[in-house]
Symmetry: C2
Subunit: 274 residues, 2 copies
């Protein structure tokens, strides 16, 4: 079976076209796809160049390429649609029904989804990201007042990337606090998070997976030993349980899924929409 | 004009449904939409509950809601499609043509796009994110060997969030180095980046916008003064020009756009696809 080429064509970054195409392609297991993004196709010239690339690739491959497109302007869409590829355009499919429903014409303005950002959105996102970076790994615990959520869990359970993702994707202010061995001495929560129980959310992970992750970082260390990982995970889960802190097992979850589940379960308000 | 409610319904996180819906809605200016995400609709029960919510909202609003859906399984899709909302499903629209083209049935497996991640993807992303955090703000310049790209620019020109975004979205290893006043003394690039010219990419920004951003951070400081901002931006741009370093003006750009343009212009290979 020869390999198909898939093009993501966009007048902007291509993020939406890639997201849409990727969701669809993962439904076809066992198929191999070569993926090419053609971003910033914002003029007729560029669109014609894209068509030449698509057609040439089709000739080389011996299969017609699949083209996922998010071209907002109809004149650009028309050009790329005339290529030899299978043309699947997102606006083509949905703008018509939406226009009918809302009883207005769409504005055909490019660059709204991931283009020129309005400054409030930009600032919110940067502010949330800076907060996540500043309040990472137990730093600036005094700033927990400003946090929407505080993730707690053992080292390498996924706290940092989840906080950053929540900041960038949703503008959520997320801090995190890593348990250390001292935190497992008593039955109390660590002093720095104790007063913030309603904001706490626990991340847990299978000891085996934790061991793998830690071992990549510090091979052969006590920190990466299975007994240490088991002890820490069990102790952390006991704390979650004892104090009624909701928690999620991150072992099989992507960052998107962890973030989304936390927001869903805590009922956190999103300051941004993708 | 009354406000429409828009639902994003997904068997997973809802990220794809939100991305798709948002791209479309921004084409309708002047309309106000209330946005509700219903993630993890992965059973018939949950789907029926979603339908009840959609229908109740339609009754309250006096307008039928708009439903953007990314339900992979046909039985779930059928349930939600029967709501009173305008149903726009992404898989409904595109799976058919793709199945025809590839001559196979789709696997109807949920959770492929942002669900259970394969561990290589997960590790790549975490590794790239850790790299971005470790190599942020001129730290660990010794590690520039591992970098795919090194962003340079004045403080607050957008380097940090762009690096983190490139790591999380594309698995790209991005470091950044902030210019300080000392770097503007001579005509040379700062010593720590000098040997890495092919990896350098400049970020610039309008002095006025820079002043606003800095002023939010340190109001009334010399750092935030317009003369200082003008001096730094001019000096940075001179350095880019003198050493042939490609650069982008971030003043009107979203993080996605900055990242995407850098990857496009430097021809950086993406290790991940969204």
């Amino acid at each position: 079976m020869s390999r198909r080429t898939v093009f993501f064509v966009s007048d902007q970054t291509g993020v939406t076209a890639e997201t849409m195409g990727h969701s669809l392609l993962t439904q076809f297991e066992g198929q191999e796809f070569r993926q090419v993004t053609l971003p910033f196709i914002a003029s007729i010239d560029k669109a014609e160049e894209a068509v030449r690339k698509i057609n040439a690739t089709g000739q080389e491959d011996g299969w017609r390429p699949i083209v996922f497109s998010t071209l907002v302007k109809e004149d650009l869409r028309r050009v790329v649609k005339a290529s030899n590829g299978l043309f699947l355009d997102f606006f083509d499919a949905f703008l018509g029904p939406l226009e009918g429903e809302l009883m207005v014409k769409s504005s055909e303005r490019a660059g709204r989804a991931h283009g020129i950002a309005d400054q409030l959105v930009y600032s919110t996102r940067i502010e949330a990201t800076n907060f996540a970076l500043a309040a990472d790994d137990g730093a600036i615990t005094a700033d927990y007042e400003r946090a929407d959520v505080i993730l707690i869990g053992v080292s390498r359970s996924g706290k940092t990337p989840t906080c950053i993702y929540m900041a960038m994707q949703y503008g959520v202010f997320a801090a995190n606090y890593p348990f250390t061995e001292d935190d497992f001495d008593g039955k109390q929560l660590p002093a720095s998070v104790r007063g913030h129980t309603p904001k706490l959310f626990g991340l847990t992970i299978s000891p085996l997976r934790l061991q793998q992750i830690r071992n990549e970082r510090r091979p052969g260390s006590r920190y990466a030993s299975i007994s240490q990982c088991e002890f820490e995970v069990r102790s952390a889960e006991n704390l979650f349980h004892r104090h009624g802190i909701p928690a999620i097992d991150t072992t099989e979850c992507s960052i998107e899924e962890i973030a989304s589940r936390i927001i869903d379960r805590k009922g956190i308000e999103r300051r941004l929409r993708p």
